[in-house]
Amino acid sequence: MSAHSPALLEVTDLHVDVAGKAILKGLNLSLAVGEVSALMGPNGSGKSTLANVIAGRPDYVVTRGSVRYLGASLTELEPEARARIGVFLAFQYPVEIPGVSNMEFLKAALDAQHKARGEEALSAVEFMKTVRGVAATLDLSPEFLKRGVNEGFSGGEKKRNEILQLLMLQPKLAILDETDSGLDIDALQTVAAGVNRFRGAGNGILLVTHYQRLLDYIKPDTVHVLADGRIVKSGDHSLALKLEQKGYGWITDAA
């Protein structure tokens, strides 16, 4: 990659308020195309806020700083516009939508993105074939596709459903917000395998997580530690291992 090509994600001096309270307080972060970065940190440090603000959650207010995606500012764009240019957030708490089947939802999302990019929509047959194939790799049965979106799904099913969407939509920037939380070891491996299948030279992944456990299965290129709304330490995978042994105290106290 040329040194002059823009970063996939460039967050500069980002300040964000949620419900009138300052959560992010001058955050800087960069993610290159082809890079997998883990974002770690204690509860309440602002990890999920960063994930949501990049996706465009309406009630999260950017008061200062910028978020650039492939060189262009994201902050003025509607959430759907971000999704259509390749930004994807795997939700920490995937939303239940009774009355809309998972299949219908996936097709509508895919069609909307194809249309916005001037691409041809998948035919119903192609779509069915693709989605069934991808679902099978995540141990999700065809029955699962007929159920309401996340309706009555177990925690593991909800997270696998997020990865199904990731694999179907093929974004350039994937932000996985605590996708490992609430997963047993088998489900964790299934989810990690899905993410590793997605991982490639043309995209980047920001893994938001509490635990280093996930990083045994998805090896990050870089690790950032977030505390009180700022990145306080960055390093490689060894930083995550050190955090697991020593906790966050030694970093956050020093910061």
């Binding site: 509607e78 959430p79 939700f91 939303v95 009774p98 999302a109 909307a112």
Partner: protein, 400 residues
């Protein structure tokens, strides 16, 4: 008092209609005399609090229209899969359906109706244009019957259908209405002992005013199931009155409705538990968009001897716009001491977190809201309703 010109034109119109339904001529005249004597109910009627009754006692209901021509008959009746037939006199036999008969209406028409509560049934009697009696013989499973009301030539559509199910018989009644004219409609149903009536009705949007009464008597061990869909119109009032007369009689009422623009859509249900061990379920879903006003009044009335009655009523509403209005009023009236009753009403809005989830996958806000609105009604669809495109009609209505 109704205006004298209205009474005069109603009288003239009723005479004009005598050829069509000769067996009720006298009852027409006495109904008009009653209307003239009692007057139009005042605007203070509790049951007509949100919807004005006066427009239903006015022209064009009493306007002269086509009198005896059968060419423009408004209602059609057919058994599923068969060619539509007209209920013209003499009524044809129903080919291939042994045990089903179609007969002309005859007096007395209103023996099973509560005329105090439904004064518009008198007007219906006086100005009836279309009507017939459908009977299913004891023990017969009559399959599906398609009852359609299409645009006719008259200024208004005034119709009545009486349905009688014999002991242990079964019928699926599919009622589809496309009058697109001011309408006064009465469906008078008697479900005999151990009989089962499954009634599906679709009232698509129209610009005209309409009053629709469904009055049902359910006898011992019999069941009445209603799946009703109703879309907005200038003024649309649906009255549904079910009497559970016999022991173990039951009723399931599943209604959905949507209104937009300046529509007024008003549903009033009354379920009377008269026999012991009777069971009723009411589930009503409503959506109000634009500047519309949606009203649901659901009353459960448990009579003194109706011990071990089990009645439930749930009303769920979705308010889509700030200017839309929802009036939800469940009522319980209980005179027996050993009963199970519950009722509840909710009014909600589209969940912004659901909207964000869909937008984060690339759907624009309007598409996300439309999908969530559709989802609110999706659970109310049967395969038949989906096939008939009813969910799409709702979506189209709410998109404008």
């Amino acid at each position: 008092m109704p205006s004298q010109p209205f009474i005069d034109s109603a009288l003239a119109r009723s005479r004009q209609l005598d050829d069509r339904l000769p067996l009720i001529a006298n009852e027409r005249r006495s109904s008009i005399a009653e209307i003239a004597r009692d007057g139009i109910p005042s605007g203070k009627l509790e049951t007509w609090k949100y919807t004005p009754i006066q427009p239903f006692f006015a022209s064009p209901f009493a306007e002269a229209g086509a009198s005896t021509s059968t060419q423009h008959r408004a209602s059609f009746l057919s058994f599923a899969g068969a060619v539509p037939i007209e209920p013209a006199a003499p009524l044809p036999s129903v080919a291939g359906r042994i045990g089903v008969s179609l007969d002309p209406l005859h007096s007395p028409l209103n023996a099973d109706l509560d005329l105090t509560r439904y004064p518009l049934a008198l007007l219906n009697t006086a100005l009836l244009e279309e009507g017939l009696v459908i009977r299913v013989a004891p023990g017969v499973d009559a399959g599906a019957l398609d009852l359609r009301f299409a645009t006719g030539s008259g200024a208004a559509s005034v119709s009545r259908v009486r349905v009688e199910l014999g002991i242990g018989s079964r019928l699926r009644l599919i009622e589809q209405r496309n009058e697109d004219r001011p309408t006064n409609s009465v469906l008078d149903i008697r479900v005999g002992p151990r009989a089962f009536l499954q009634h599906t009705r679709v009232l698509p949007p129209t610009t005209a005013a309409g009053w629709y009464l469904v009055s049902v008597h359910v006898e011992a061990d019999a069941t009445y199931d209603l799946i009703g869909h109703s879309m907005g119109s200038a003024t649309r009032r649906n009255d549904i009155h079910v009497r559970l007369d016999g022991r173990h009689a039951s009723a399931n009422i599943d209604l959905a409705c949507a209104a937009h623009r300046r529509d007024r859509l008003d549903h009033q249900t009354v379920v009377e538990h008269i026999g012991v061990d009777t069971v009723s379920r009411q589930l009503v879903h409503g959506i109000a968009a634009g500047s519309s006003e949606l009203t649901f009044n659901g009353r459960i009335h448990i009579h003194p001897n109706a011990q071990r009655s089990d009645a439930r009523l749930t009303n769920k509403n979705l308010l889509l716009d700030k200017k839309a209005r929802i009036n939800a009023k469940p009522e319980l009236e209980i005179y027996a001491n050993d009963v199970k009753c519950s009722h509840g009403a909710t009014v909600g809005q589209i969940d912004p977190v659901q909207v964000f989830y869909l937008r984060a996958r690339g759907l624009d806000e309007a598409a996300a809201r439309a999908m969530l609105t559709r989802a609110f009604l999706a659970g109310r669809m049967t395969p038949w309703l989906l096939e008939a495109g009813v969910l799409d009609v709702y979506a189209e209505l709410l998109a404008t």
